[in-house]
């Protein structure tokens, strides 16, 4: 049973914001798929089905204080850290003002200096070791900031996943490792990715708690993350969270999941859409009325239209970028080293 939103301990006002962001992110995701299909952008990776889990996750952190190393499906969490639809769209259009990649990175490589969301590569799991370095920094600074890092279930096969968790266990690092487990790595189903009953069991092998969390249940997710964050802030070390979510869309816009997922399975996934569940919850728990939701939908549509237009109108990177920021400039005065 999905737990009540109110059991999360968040206020109604907070829950309104969360829900609105989730809905915004769904509508934005749909728009981005559409932009890709109509040739306005060249690529999109959808996060549909992972939004509720990501929202529960994001709400447990302090954006601006905590570091965040997202992966390519994390649009909802990224927005909850404080990023706008327009910013995200600028990255999709390859515009220089996009915070993630300034037109240099592919779409969906979420990052933003402003909220300590760190630049990511496409090489899966390679953010995990980097996250441990950032977490180690908190120890050096005697800070209670926490580092959040996410990846997919398939990506846990990588050696870098293992090496990071091992060191985090040894050094008791303030980091929350998240597996957004949607059961697939592109076309490869989970039983061809790993044979563990649950990836949460890996925690013990590193001396850190590993927990299974229902990422379709906002409250359950939020509370699990709250505990992991508290643990980390207190200096008790890392947690591994195996967050069970759904991948509702193709792997990316280059993929066609109907080749490897049956009609029945896809229908099931559609039926289990956690946004539907949560929409029912916000109505049932009196967080929004139906009329308010209708307004919200209208507002979001307008917002996203405006954001799309503005993002598209933003300038492409200048060609001079090709030779900028490769190395730091060598300091002319000393003549010897970068401006570290």
């Amino acid at each position: 049973m999905t737990r009540k939103l109110q059991e999360s301990g968040l206020t109604k006002a907070q829950l309104r914001v969360v829900y609105a962001q989730i809905l915004r992110s769904r509508r934005l995701d749909e728009r981005m798929l559409q932009l890709q299909r109509t040739g306005k952008t060249s690529f999109h990776t959808s996060g549909q089905g992972q939004e509720i889990g990501q929202a529960g996750m994001a709400m447990a952190f302090e954006p601006g204080k905590d570091y965040y190393l997202p992966y390519y499906r994390d649009m909802t969490a990224f927005m909850l850290f404080g990023i706008t639809a327009k910013e995200i769209l600028m990255d999709s259009f390859g515009r220089y003002d996009g915070p993630s990649g300034h037109g240099l990175q592919m779409p969906n490589h979420y990052a933003a200096k402003r909220v300590k969301a760190v630049s990511q590569s496409s090489t899966v799991a390679s953010q995990y070791p980097v996250a441990t370095g950032i977490a180690y920094g908190a120890k050096l600074e005697n800070s209670d900031r926490v580092t959040l890092v996410t990846t997919g279930d398939g990506s846990t096969g990588e050696g870098e996943f293992h090496e990071a968790l091992n060191f985090a266990g040894v050094a008791k690092l303030p980091v929350v490792f998240v597996i957004e487990n949607n059961g697939y790595a592109i076309s490869t189903p989970h039983n061809e990715e790993y044979a563990a009953k649950s990836l949460a069991l890996r925690g013990q092998g590193y001396g850190i708690p590993g927990v299974d969390v229902d990422g379709l249940d906002f409250t359950a997710t939020y509370l699990a993350f709250k505990e992991a964050v508290a643990r980390a802030r207190k200096g008790d070390g890392a947690t591994l969270i195996n967050l069970h979510v759904l991948r509702m869309q193709d792997h990316t816009s280059d993929d066609n999941q109907r080749i490897y997922r049956s009609k029945a399975e896809l229908a099931e996934v559609k039926a289990a859409d956690p946004l539907k569940t949560m929409t029912q919850q916000v109505l049932d728990e009196g967080i929004y009325t139906q009329a308010e939701l209708d307004d919200l939908e209208k507002q979001l549509k307008k917002d996203i239209n405006v954001a799309t237009d503005q993002a598209e109108a933003a300038p492409l990177p200048d060609l001079s970028v090709l030779s900028q920021n490769i190395f730091a400039p060598v300091d002319k005065e000393s003549g010897i080293y970068g401006n570290n």
């Binding site: 060249s42 690529f43 390859g94 515009r95 220089y96 990649g101 037109g103 240099l104 990175q105 592919m106 779409p107 490589h109 590569s121 496409s122 090489t123 899966v124 799991a125 398939g154 990506s155 846990t156 096969g157 990588e158 050696g159 870098e160 790595a185 592109i186 076309s187 490869t188 061809e192 990715e193 790993y194 280059d254 993929d255 080749i259 490897y260 492409l316 990177p317 060609l319 970028v321 090709l322 030779s323 490769i326």
Partner: protein
Amino acid sequence: MATIDYLQALNQALDEELAQDDTLTVFGEDVGAPKGGVFNVTQGLAEKYGDLRVFNTPLSEAEIAGLAIGLGVSGHHAVAEFQFADYILPATNQIISEAARMRYRSQGDWSAPVVFRAPYGGGVGGGFYHSQSTEKVFVGQPGLRVVTPSTVRDAKGLLKSAIRCADPVLFFEHKRLYHSIKADIDPDEEILTPIDKAQVLRQGTDITVMSYGITLQYVLQAAEELAKSGIQTEVVDIRSLYPLDEATIVAAAKKTGKVLLVNEDNKEGGVLGEISAIISEQALFDLDAPIKRLAGPDSPAMPYAKNLEQAFLVQPDQVKQAMQELAEF
């Protein structure tokens, strides 16, 4: 005869070798049924040869490489796919420390006759991690052959030879050649391309241009155009990036005394440097012009925005212009 493209040629090579060598396995991320690889190079093979021989692996490139090596060591053959050439990097240790050294360190007691396939190259909107030319990381490792086909015929013949080769072969496939070049290939002809030889694709007397990958297509096209204005170009498909075919390279350089080297990778530190060094070591006094290199800029390959990506990529008109300038030198 049937007209097939570069990708179909690769698929045929795998199909034929799976049929004739029952120790052969083919695997990698999403390589098995039903997807058959993100580019479809292995499409239909799992259905035909079973999912014990053609299969998906977890995301773990070092394991993919090691799995292949272990199969090779124990008398099997393996074609391991890295989904993108960018993602060979996590497997660097397996490839260099294990595969490349196996035969020599055991003086032939053990060997690793495996093929590592990797789609490389940019111009596909893939940003930094789906566009790189990573061949430079792996050349210069005695024991490890690095090759790349740049024609449809070689896509088939070189892959078949690589599979039959007793040593590990790192096999790069340029993504933008997959569907952009086609040729008539007799499906019944057994094509086996020498694995250690460069290839002269066009004879010429005025300038010599050596290249591989998509830029080789630009060179061929420019050579065709320049021929009309009387400039005759000797075009060499480098093909075997390590070890290099010094004899063919030096002979082609001496023939015209004017050499241009072209590839898509960054200029400094790429494989063109070695080719240039071989020529200036062995044919310096035959040269009538500096050995020029036309390559990508020395910035990380490759930015996403279309304008930057195009600015990064060596363009056909740059190739033609460089050839013209060299002819006029």
